[in-house]
């Protein structure tokens, strides 16, 4: 394994982590508010399709906006069914995923009937950061990336600040911790829950569009390949904090990038090992982190 290859793997990991961080930050707001969005996978893949569809006529930036809009629409639908009709959140989330997967496949097949060549759109170009990109090794890993990656970092920092310092963030945490007490103190629990879900949906849709418009440039049915579920795992592992989410996303993205590029190297392992590695490691980290959590709870209990 040459240094050249490692640079490629790490730079790829940074690029692959962007959609996971975006959707993960959104979901951490949802989970901090005490709810869960199991429809992320559906929102991501429909956003991925809408992104390419719009980008094919209006350019990549419009495609990203279309992804946001798609995620918002699905989140609004989910919000209506869960909050207005009081349907079960888990079932509705899975239904949204089924709907998103089905609709993206259907619309794609109507747009490009089987047999025709897939449409490829212009992706968001990479922008090297002046000066920093000239750093040895690190420059090529961190600072020759798509502007989406830089924006994602800013967004994660902003999310941390919002959660920590703003009224909205405080309200979300209050509702998630004790909805009854929050309501008694005048927090509109429903509105807070809805807003966090809409935010999570918009970011999930954007994350989907980032996968297609940001890097690949075309859509194929099932392109998200369970990354919506990975996001849920990352948010649980990362304890719903932006830093934790980013670390979890980087871990998964690194393994994904590794599995894409390492097959060409000397390690003679079956390709399936590389393909399943990200999922296996995610599961292992999920187990380890929940075990650690149990321990910390036990420690607190013994101190009390």
């Amino acid at each position: 394994m040459s240094a050249e290859l490692w640079v490629a793997i790490l730079a790829g990991a940074i690029a692959l982590s962007a959609p996971l961080v975006l959707a993960g930050v959104g979901e951490s707001f949802v989970e901090r508010a005490g709810r869960i969005n199991l429809g992320i996978e559906g929102m991501m893949i429909l956003g991925a399709f809408a992104g390419v569809y719009v980008a094919s006529t209006a350019g990549p930036w419009a495609g990203l906006l279309a992804g946001i809009a798609t995620g918002l629409v699905l989140a609004a639908l989910m919000n209506t069914v869960v909050h207005r009709l009081h349907a079960n959140e888990v079932v509705v989330g899975l239904a949204i995923t089924v709907l998103g997967l089905g609709l993206s496949t259907y619309l794609f097949q109507v747009w490009i009937p089987s047999g025709q060549t897939n449409v490829s759109v212009e992706t968001v170009p990479r922008v090297p950061v002046p000066l920093l990109s000239d750093l040895p090794l690190l420059g090529r890993i961190l600072f020759v990336q798509s502007p989406i990656v830089y924006a994602t970092v800013l967004l994660a920092v902003a999310a941390w600040a919002v959660m920590r310092f703003t009224r909205f963030g405080l309200q979300i945490r209050a509702v998630g911790t004790d909805p009854v007490a929050a309501a008694l103190r005048g927090v509109r629990t429903r509105a807070v829950g809805s807003n966090s879900l809409l935010l999570g949906g918009a970011l999930a849709g954007l994350a989907g569009a980032v996968i297609t418009v940001g890097t690949i440039g075309s859509f194929t049915p099932g392109i998200t390949a369970g990354r919506g579920y990975i996001v849920l795992a990352i948010v649980i592992m990362g304890r719903s904090t932006p830093v934790g989410v980013a670390l979890g996303a980087l871990l998964f993205a690194f393994l994904q990038s590794f599995s894409l590029l390492a097959q060409s190297t000397g390690l003679q392992l079956p390709s399936e090992v590389y393909q399943t590695l990200p999922y296996v490691v995610t599961l292992i980290v999920l187990v380890l982190s929940s075990r650690a959590r149990v321990r910390s709870v036990l420690r607190k209990a013994s101190l009390a």
Binding site: V90, T97, V110, A233, T276
Partner: protein
């Protein structure tokens, strides 16, 4: 809760609304693809019923969905959301195929059929159960959320299947798609209706359905139902957390593993990488659609299979409507059913005030996530007397 007392008109209004929305969405999608909805509808009907063979295909498609859905009843009723049927089907199919082929090499391919069937079915059940054991263990020991662990394990199973079909299970012939060797003729499930592919798995579905109808009258059902809303009370009734998680997840794993064998021995007679064909997820949807009632589930499985078969008919009749329209309809349907189920629960709170008790006896269980308990048909949250609580319950335990 299914007694006549609960039939209030609002619920029927919502149900009617769901049906209208589904039809409207279907019509819109067909129009969007530039076809006539009526032509599409005729294609759909033709796709299901134009020949005995088509009807047979409908039944063949419903069998795996129904078995997965039926065996998910205990887990879902206990509020344990196992989404791992896909992976469990794969492991059941791998073990069943391996065992059948091994038996054929050791004892010769001329063994009587029932020997192959029993060995294959048992191997499938063992494979599926073992693969369900892991997420159950993780959930019991470390509170690892079972939705996420089962979802992640599905990818692991798919990888293992791909590797198996390239290596130890690979067909000796040169083939374009990875596949196993063909099963010996005696090992194939015989057809039940001549002129179709409808096999004896249909009888298996009926047996399992009857089994669950009887089980719903047993003490086990009561324990599992109580467990989902009052774990402490369930403990006094003899249902521990570990015992409930292990037993319900093993049942669903066994069912999924059995499906793995049924699909190999009944439909293709060899193992392909596409063995699940999404029936694991469809099974989950059908279990919810059927309201966890065995009869409802069998009907819903037939309906799902009809949608899939009919959509293929629609594709060939219109020429422009992709058959993936069935998947969109399934999603809309599932959304609708979740809404109707919510309405179903409301009168229940009035009729049975015992359901509306605030869950004060829940012990604070350390969780790695907000509790993702599926609580169909009636979770404590929606019968909660005040509106302050968000729709998802369980936060009271954190």
């Amino acid at each position: 809760m299914n007694s006549l007392r609960d039939l209030d008109h609002r619920r029927w209004l919502v149900t009617g609304g769901v049906v209208l929305v589904v039809l409207a969405v279907a019509a819109l999608l067909i129009l969007f693809a530039g076809a006539d909805p009526l032509v599409g509808l005729r294609g759909l009907v033709d796709g299901i019923s134009s020949s005995p063979y088509r009807v047979g295909e409908l039944l063949v498609g419903a069998v795996p969905i129904a078995i997965v859905a039926l065996t998910l009843i205990p887990a879902l009723r206990a509020g344990i959301f196992s989404v791992g049927a896909e992976g469990q089907i794969i492991f059941g199919a791998i073990l069943a195929t391996g065992t059948t082929l091994w038996l054929a090499t050791v004892a010769g391919p001329d063994l009587p059929g029932p020997v192959f069937w029993i060995a294959g079915a048992l191997a499938g059940i063992v494979g599926g159960s073992l693969f369900a054991l892991l997420p159950a263990l993780l959930a019991v020991r470390w509170q690892v959320n079972e939705i996420l662990s089962t979802l992640l394990l599905n990818y692991v199973a798919a990888g293992f299947l791909g590797w198996s079909l390239r290596t130890w299970l690979a067909s000796p012939e040169e083939t374009a798609t990875p596949q196993s060797e063909q099963l010996p003729e005696a090992a194939a499930l015989p057809t039940m209706i001549a002129g179709t592919r409808a096999h004896w798995g249909i009888a298996l579905v009926l047996l399992i359905a009857i089994g669950f109808i009887l089980w719903r009258r047993s003490a086990g059902w009561t324990r599992v139902s109580v467990f989902s809303s009052r774990p402490k009370l369930a403990l006094r009734l003899g249902a521990t957390r570990a015992g409930t998680i292990y037993s319900t997840m093993l049942v669903s794993g066994a069912g999924a593993g059995l499906v793995g064998w049924v699909q190999v021995a009944g439909v293709n007679e060899r193992l392909f990488s596409s063995v699940t064909g999404g029936v694991g997820f469809s099974g989950l949807a059908v279990a919810l659609l059927g309201g966890l009632l065995p009869v409802g589930i069998v009907a819903a499985a037939l309906f799902f299979s009809a949608l899939t078969a009919g959509a293929v008919g629609m594709q060939s009749a219109t020429g422009t409507v992709p058959s993936s329209i069935a998947e969109v309809i399934k999603g809309v349907l599932l959304l609708g059913v979740a809404s109707v189920a919510a309405y179903q629960r409301r009168p229940a709170a009035v009729v049975a005030p015992s359901d509306a008790v605030v869950p004060v006896d829940e012990e604070p269980v350390p969780e790695s996530s907000p509790r993702l308990h599926a609580t169909l048909p009636h979770p404590p949250s929606d019968t909660h007397p005040h509106e302050l609580q968000p729709a998802d319950s369980g936060e009271s335990s954190r």
